[in-house]
Structures are given as C-alpha cells and as structure tokens.
Symmetry: C2
Subunit: 469 residues, 2 copies
C-alpha cells in the first residue's frame, strides 16, 4: 500500500499547505532534524513570531520584505511610524536569536548551542510566486567574547548528518571564507570599496558565465582585466584537499604577495577541510566561487547542494558572524547554518520522489458489529492504544466489506473484528488478506514497522505509485 | 539535580518566550498531546498563519482582535480595504480548519479527524497584559453531511486522556448542551430574542453571584422574577449521573411543559454522560451553568477546569457546530475541543510546580585532555550519538574540575574522560561521584531514564528546588 504525497489546494499563493500524507513527511523531516540536533547537545528554543521593526532592520537591511502588523481594532492615533514600536513578522531566525541572546545573556550558559525550527514570513509581492510563509530549521552556537574555530567545523557536520538521515538525495556542503576572498582581492590591489560590487558580479558566475562576469567586472566595477582574470581563477577553485586548495589559491595570485588576511583565511579554511575530511569524508568541499553572504559573514561561509537538484540552489546556508549580537559591553560571536525546510519539502513532495504507507496514524481500524455493540469496539481500541497501537473505531456499522474499504482508502493496514457471542476476536491484514485470532490485550503487528506510517522512495520495493487514489 | 523552569525575559508584553528548561516542558507537553491524538487516529495538519480578513470575520465577528498584515515595501496603491484581499493572522484554529476542509473537500476522507497544534495571534491592546501570541492545541472531527453523537463523547475523552498524561493537576471536563438551555428557556416562555442576553447574564454567575444575576435578568433583560428564578435553578444543576441530571432539569421547570428541543438536548446530554461514565469515570460532569459559547455552538458544549486552579478559567473548551463549514451544496458538521496551551504552560511554569532534570538534551559531556586531542573526544561523542546517546564535547581543555563544573551547571549527568596512552576511558556520574571504566561502543547509563531530560513535580523525590541556579 502506498499513498501519494501531494500538496493541498492553496487558495493563497506563497502560503503552502499540505494534505495529511504530506504533513506526515514534513513531521518526519522535522522530527529527524530535531533528533540529530539533540544528539549533538543543541537546546531547542522558539522565539516569538513578532519583533519590533527596529530589530528587524537593525543591520540596515531596510530592503527586506517584512510584513508589518496593525490591529484591526486600533484605537484612533495608535498608528505609529516609530520602528521601535512598530511590529513585524520575523523574516529569518537569526535576527530573533541574536535578540533572544541579548535578552537572556545573564541566564544562558555560553557557549550556547541552540536549534530552532519555526515558520518565518516574507512580505513578497503576491505575483512573484515566492514563498511568503515557510519553515526554517537553524542551528547556531554563540559564544561570550570568543568562539573557537572548531565550531565552524561542527555546524556543517551536524547539518550534514541531519540531512543524511532524511530520505533525500545526498547533500554536499560547500564552504568558503570571507577572509580568503577579501584577502585575495586586497592582494590583487582591488580597493576595499570595490569589494561588494566584485562579490555581487562574481555571484552571477553560474547564471551568466565567465565571459560576461569578466566583462562586467571591467566595464561596470572598473577593475583591470588582469584583476578580473584572477578573480575568475579564484572562483574556479574547489575541492576537499586542504593543501591543494591552499596551493591553488596562492597560484591564482599570479605572483602577487598574499596578504595577512588571506593567509589567515587559508589557515581557517584548511583546518575546516582537514577536520571535516577526518570526521565525515565527502560531506564538505571548498568552493571559492561562493560570494553570497560574504558581505555580512566575517569568516566561514556555507552553501549546500542536493545531488540532481542543483537547480534548486542552496538547500542550507550560513556562516560565521564575529558579532552575532552585542550590547555594547559584551560581544557574542556566532556560527550557524539554516535549512529552508519548506523549499526542500516542496521539491521533495512536488517531484513525487516519496510515498508514505498511509495518510493517517491509525494502525488498526476496529470494526463495529452493530451500533448497539459500539461500546465493545471502543474497549478494544482503548486496549490497543494503552499498549501504544494507534487505533480508530469504524464510524459506521455497515457491512464488513464497507468497513474494510474505509480502512483501505486511508491505508490502514489492519481491521479488527470483535468476536460475537463469546467467540474470540480476529484481525485481518488487509494487504495480504490473512486473518488470525487475536486478543486486544496482547496482539502486536507481525511487523512492528506497521505501528506508524513509513516513508519510502516512490516506486520502491514492489510498491506502485498511484496504486491508491 | 534539578533545573528550575522559568520564563525568558520578554521585551514585548503578551509575547511569551521560554528559557531552554521551560521549552523542554513545552515540547514535552506538545509531544504528549500529539502522541495521544495519534493513538486515537487523528491526522496532524498545519494551516498557514494567514487568512483573508473576509475569512476571519466570516461569522460576523468583526469584534475579534485581529492583526492585519501590510508589506513594508508595499507598492503605491497596493493598500486595500477589500476584506477578501486584506490578510490577517488567524486568531484561532477553527476558522482556518473550516476553510481547509472546504479547500480540500474533494480529497479528504470523511469523517476527517485532525489535530492541529499551532500558534495563534490576537491583536489585543498592548496595555491589557493578555497573550497576543500563544499556542493552541485543537482536535476536531468533521463529517460530510452527518456526524453521529458518539463523536461528542470521543472528543472530550481523548482530550481528557491527553491531559491526564501531562504532569499537571487533574482536569475535569464540564459539559452542557445548547438545546437543553434553549429548550428550557423556551419552555419557560422566554422569547427567542431574549436568549443571547439571558446567556450573557447567566455567564457572570461565578463573578457576581446569584442575587445580582437575578436582579440583572429582571431589570436589564426584562424576564419575570419566576423566569429568573428558574434560570438560576437550571444553572445550579451539575453532576455525572445522567438520570439525576435529567430529573433535576425537568424539576427546575416547576411544572412548565418541556419542549421537544429540551427533550432532544436531554437525550444527547444523558447519552454523553452515560458513555463517558462507562469509558472514563470521573472525566466528565454535566454543568448547566455553562453559558459561554451557547450562542455559536449548536449542541454539546465543553469547558474544563484544573483542580486547585479554577481561577485560571477553562483550560480547554469547545463544542459542536452543525455547520462547521459549507460550500452551499455540502454541509460539514464538526465537533471539537481546544486547549489554550500557552496559558496552561504559563500557569504550570509560573507557579513553579515543575522542574526538569536538565536544561540541555546532552546526557554525556566528553572531556578534552588537551586541544591536540580534541579529535579523540569528537570520536567518542560520535560513537555515543550513533547509539542514541546525546553527547557534547567540552568547549575547553581546561582542568577537569572546570570541565565537570561546565556539565554540572547545565545538569548534564555524566562526564566522559578519554583514556591517555592506551589506558581505557572512564565515565563519571557527577551526581553520585561514581566513576567506572567505559567503552564508547557499548556503554549505556545505568538508568536509561538519564538519556533524556525528565520532568517532575518541584521538590519531589529528594530533589530540592533552587539547588541549581
């Protein structure tokens, strides 16, 4: 038996909803992430959905697509344009986490490792087809004053372990380092103020190709053709071997002397690759064309790609902030990584790559002989539940064939028949048709995996997609 | 060891946040509710946080405290006062569920049992100190055309089972029935249009007392003194014995002839009490003074009170709608019940009645001998995690006493010491001080309950509140 996993009808574009089978997939994903994060000692927290606008735009990002709130029953004169009093929905989980750390800095123990799996909202134009509500799953560690580099290794390894526990194609985490890029461009003689523009253009490499990037770097940003060429050489460097990456970057300088910052960045990047290669080979590669995020992260930067779904873009991203939060006296550096869970799920569900064995938690449907004996069926169901077996009672006392069809349509694997007149009960596996005597005080399914709905790749192990409507 | 459970600093009133220990309590509550709901065959769904204003005010409840959304980057002329295009945050989970049922009526299988545990928002005046963001946990069953009365029994029994699995004082579910109240007042000769006012005044019984209710009924609503007296007699009736309740209600009529509606309501109420008494004695009592909700529910109505915390008001509430949703052709009756989870948690946490054994998921802190050997500690932690034991590696290679204090401050029960120079590893239970040889490939804690944080009533079993800061 298999239930196809589909998206629900959504009457508002950008606000995805799932039918029950797809929600089972979503809950499985969330539970798996949470389990992995907790195995690594991350605390779960939730922050309120709402922040003052001043908090949301603290990093000067007034271009963010924020939803502002106002009260339907607002009192006259209540409207405000003071961003400290105006409330908006959070657009990510980093800004609220930084605020939470400051609010509770006197109570939290540092280094503080937390995970946070919550909805976020972006006030996008309705016509753009982008998600306006979606779930993010973030892990971050924040230190008080200092935060050693080994946390830069820990974050992507934990996230890779979590993603590897999901029924999705392999994900590889690509890393770069702001210090490498900035130090490299310094060494080439590119001016500090040109850096953001250089990064913005290099970021388009996959979209517009090397030729047009070079042209734009020279014509629009105003670097020399030699500088543009070196920038492209840097962007071509990738690999998991720390020494090779270091050698390639230094070679890309074409004789220019490396700066202190570049050497420091290369040390960090090499150490990350070395550690990660030892602990989780194949999880992490250097990828020096990463440019997005380099304008706000201060060291390591992460992006990630799912095999065969590179067109989806980065599945999870993050990096290090030397000052994730600061109250003027104390500074809290942080490093973290964030999955766009709804986007990943929409791809997984939309591509039909997964099925679930059923769309309800129910393992057993207890049949009802006639309405006068519904109480007997209730007692059987309660006995099964008390031993952890999800059970439901048939809503109708119709002919057994109809009650079996009720179970079949939902993917419920077992139907229980109460014994009449002192006869023993029996239970039927409606997939095989096998029916055996049973006692609600002791019965368990022959395959314990039947206790809960299971996910599997579509069409696998003799299961036919579309077998069920 | 015990960690006190406290609320986080909240810089916005009405938007509660929890410190990690309290979040463990919240997650335990949510997981327990979810587990019980699934044992009873309820599907988990989530709906988007946002609905068109026209949907939110469909029942004519324009007095609802709704938060409206607007885009910070709105285009000129984008503002709208068309309630079908204006978006707001949902204020409960019933309105979105009804909309979801209609959106997916062609795909869902009926009767459809769902649970939904989500945040909701109320745009209350900031100064009123009420929750503006909170979690609700709802169960509902919705039928296509018809929905038998036994679901009116099922809902409160499932919710009572879920609440009984939580570490809180006993909850009793109080029930009434709109048909009993309406039929009773009809029999007394109270006019249809007086009914809402009568209910509104009777609802104040606990606050203002019988004398003032009687006065207000006569002076403000305009019923006769005899009618007011009968209304108060009805409101005094409570109990779990179906025959006694029926007899008391008929006696309260003082000779007036019962109407059809009253008799039908009494049949429903009696059947509910009978069934519930058989399946879960003590869970449910009739309580004829319930007046709230009778203006929108069409049959059974629920309220619930926690022993010793009656001042908190109803912990969970709900009832039956003969038309939860309708598309004009099909009508979907529903019955359900909803917990205000954040309100319950705020009481449980605020009253200090609970403690958790630790504020982190970590069971074992692996010590670090020196930074050069951090890799060895990482390997030990990975070996423990691969067997389901949550482990963290010490952030510092300081003296072991300092590393033990790091564990102690977080409530982590075990510290693992890697063996140097071929010596075996050892693990110390820092509560007892006992230290034994150990192997990361086989070790498990002597008490498996140590694998995850546990909740217990404050001060119980030799555990001192405030032992830990």
């Amino acid at each position: 038996m298999a239930v196809q996993v589909r998206q629900a009808q959504s009457s508002l574009s950008g606000f995805p909803e799932w039918l029950p089978a797809a929600r089972i997939v979503e809950e499985h994903f969330i539970d798996t992430l949470r389990r992995t994060f907790e195995l690594h000692g991350f605390c779960g927290i939730e922050t309120r959905a709402v922040e003052p606008l001043s908090e949301l735009t603290r990093k000067g990002e007034t271009s963010k697509e924020v939803y502002l709130l106002s009260r339907l029953q607002a009192d006259p004169g209540e409207e405000t344009t003071d961003p400290a009093r105006q409330l908006g929905l959070h657009f990510d989980l980093t800004v609220p986490f930084a605020r939470y750390v400051l609010d509770n800095a006197g109570t939290l123990h540092f280094p503080f490792k937390r995970y946070q799996i919550q909805k976020v909202w972006r006030g996008e134009r309705p016509q753009e087809g982008r998600f306006r509500e979606f779930i993010q799953a973030d892990i971050d560690v924040v230190g008080d004053g200092a935060l050693p580099l080994y946390h830069d290794v820990e974050m992507p390894l934990v996230m890779h372990e979590a993603l590897s526990a999901l029924p999705i194609p392999a994900v590889t985490i690509h890393v770069s380092n702001r210090k490498v890029a900035q130090g490299f461009y310094q060494a080439l003689g590119i001016r500090e103020e040109q850096l953001p523009e250089v990064l913005r253009v290099v970021d388009k490499l996959d979209k517009i190709g090397a030729g047009r990037v070079a042209t734009e770097l020279v014509d629009v940003v105003g670097v020399t053709p030699a500088q543009a060429e070196a920038a492209l050489r840097l962007a071509e460097i990738s690999g998991a071997d720390p020494e090779q990456v270091r050698a390639d970057v230094l070679a890309a300088l074409s004789g220019a002397a490396p700066t202190e910052l570049l050497l420091q960045g290369l040390d960090e990047l090499s150490e990350l690759l070395r550690s990660a290669g030892r602990r989780r080979p194949g999880a992490i590669v250097a990828d020096l064309k990463i440019a997005r995020g380099l304008d706000y992260y201060t060291g390591t930067v992460y992006e990630s790609f799912m095999a065969g779904h590179e067109d989806l873009g980065s599945v999870c991203s993050g990096g290090r902030y030397d000052s994730l939060a600061s109250d003027g006296k104390r500074t809290f550096p942080g490093v973290g990584i964030s999955i766009g869970l709804s986007r990943l799920l929409a791809r997984v569900i939309g591509s039909g790559m997964l099925e679930v064995t059923r769309a309800v938690p129910t393992a057993v449907l207890v049949a009802v002989t006639d309405e006068a004996h519904r109480g007997a069926s209730d007692s059987i169901a309660d006995a099964l539940r008390s031993r952890g077996i999800a059970a439901d009672v048939s809503p109708t006392a119709a002919k057994y064939g109809k009650q079996i069809r009720f179970a079949d349509r939902r993917g419920i694997p077992y139907v229980w028949f109460p014994g009449a007149d002192g006869e023993p009960d029996s239970v039927k596996d409606i997939r095989s048709g096998e029916q055996v005597r049973s006692d609600a005080a002791t019965w368990i399914p022959s395959d314990e995996a039947d206790l809960a709905p299971r996910l599997h790749p579509a069409g696998e192990a003799g299961i036919q997609a579309g077998e069920r409507d």
